[in-house]
């Protein structure tokens, strides 16, 4: 006697809780995490390029002459604070406080914008002093590495303003919460990359 097989949800052993690995939220988070990991490889390649080329100054200015450690330290602190305020926005979202989320995101945005302003100021200063990316392999790799990180932060600022707009329009829903989570991962990742820029480029640059 062959028992018929029922392909219905009831045939499974336990359906009392949803499978957390097949819902849209988990799939989005995993997919975005994979993107972040490939982005890590991109930065690894840029770090390796910088490490290889940082002594190739072509008779021009060296990293010891160019870098300002207090400025880099200030940038580090600003980015660190912004990553924590982004985390506070996430914590506010757990309590359904939409105005708090938007408030913390606005603080994060201001800190991120300050960071980018300081970085652009530094770049402008370097270029005006005659140390643009065209002068040496060292400066090319420096501008590429730090500029790529800055570009990520700028995209993050644009993204953050879109998320704030969506929160204002729809409030906190399944979809806006998911976007908020993915954005916070991106923002934390940028702070993680910056630790290594601060250490390998700025701290080791002035030694």
């Amino acid at each position: 006697m062959i028992q018929p097989v029922y392909h219905t949800p009831e045939a499974h052993a336990d359906t009392s809780f949803p499978d957390t690995h097949q819902d849209t939220f988990s799939k989005t988070v995993l997919g975005f995490w994979m993107y972040l990991m490939t982005d890590c490889i991109l930065f690894a390649a840029l770090f390796a390029t910088y490490a290889v080329l940082h002594n190739s100054t072509f008779g021009g200015a060296t990293s010891q002459e160019l870098f300002s450690l207090p400025l880099a330290f200030t940038e580090t602190m600003i980015l660190l604070c912004s990553t924590v305020t982004c985390g506070f926005a996430m914590l506010a979202s757990l309590k359904n406080r939409t105005t708090h989320i938007i408030g913390w995101l606005a603080v994060t945005f201001l800190l991120g914008a300050t960071f980018i302003t300081l970085e652009l100021h530094e770049f402008k200063h370097l270029v005006y002093e005659g140390n643009s990316w065209r002068e040496s392999a060292f400066l090319s790799s420096f501008f590429t590495l730090v500029g790529t990180h800055g570009l990520h932060v700028s995209v993050g600022l644009l993204w953050m303003s879109v998320v704030i707009g969506q929160l204002l329009y729809w409030g906190l829903t399944v979809h806006t919460f998911r976007r908020l989570v993915v954005f916070s991962m991106f923002w934390h990742f940028l702070d993680l990359v910056w630790i290594f820029i601060f250490t390998f480029v700025y701290l080791m640059g002035v030694i």
Partner: protein, 118 residues
């Protein structure tokens, strides 16, 4: 089959807490301040200094991965953690491999130039 979850259900899949953020923030603050002050006050020099600040950066990265990015805190099967460790492997191959090859080539070229001058 895809199952859609409610807002309260997906909130449980996000692992951040106030405690984790405070620990991560304080650790990052202290570690950054230590490496900055070591370099500014010139406490160490040469290889010892390089290893110290790289070590401090790695410790800070681990703190941020655990407390901000919640690595290894998802439900099983931990695909995010698997992808992360694979990325670390590729990262080491790309970064250390490039440095090894380029320094080796550099040494050879420089030796040839030095002998050519003599």
């Amino acid at each position: 089959m895809s199952e859609e979850l409610s807002l309260n259900e997906i909130k449980k899949e996000w692992h951040g807490t106030l405690k984790a953020y405070v620990i991560g923030f304080l650790a990052s603050l202290i570690l950054t301040a230590i490496s900055f002050s070591i370099v500014i006050t010139k406490q160490l020099s040469g290889t010892a200094l390089v290893f110290t600040i790289v070590g401090l950066a790695l410790i800070q990265a681990i703190f941020q991965l655990l407390f901000f990015l919640h690595v290894g805190q998802e439900a099983k099967p931990r695909w995010e953690t698997v992808v992360f460790f694979f990325m670390v492997l590729v990262l080491f191959i790309v970064a250390l491999g490039s440095l090894w090859i380029m320094s080796d080539l550099n040494d050879r070229v420089m030796t040839n130039m030095a002998t050519a001058k003599e």
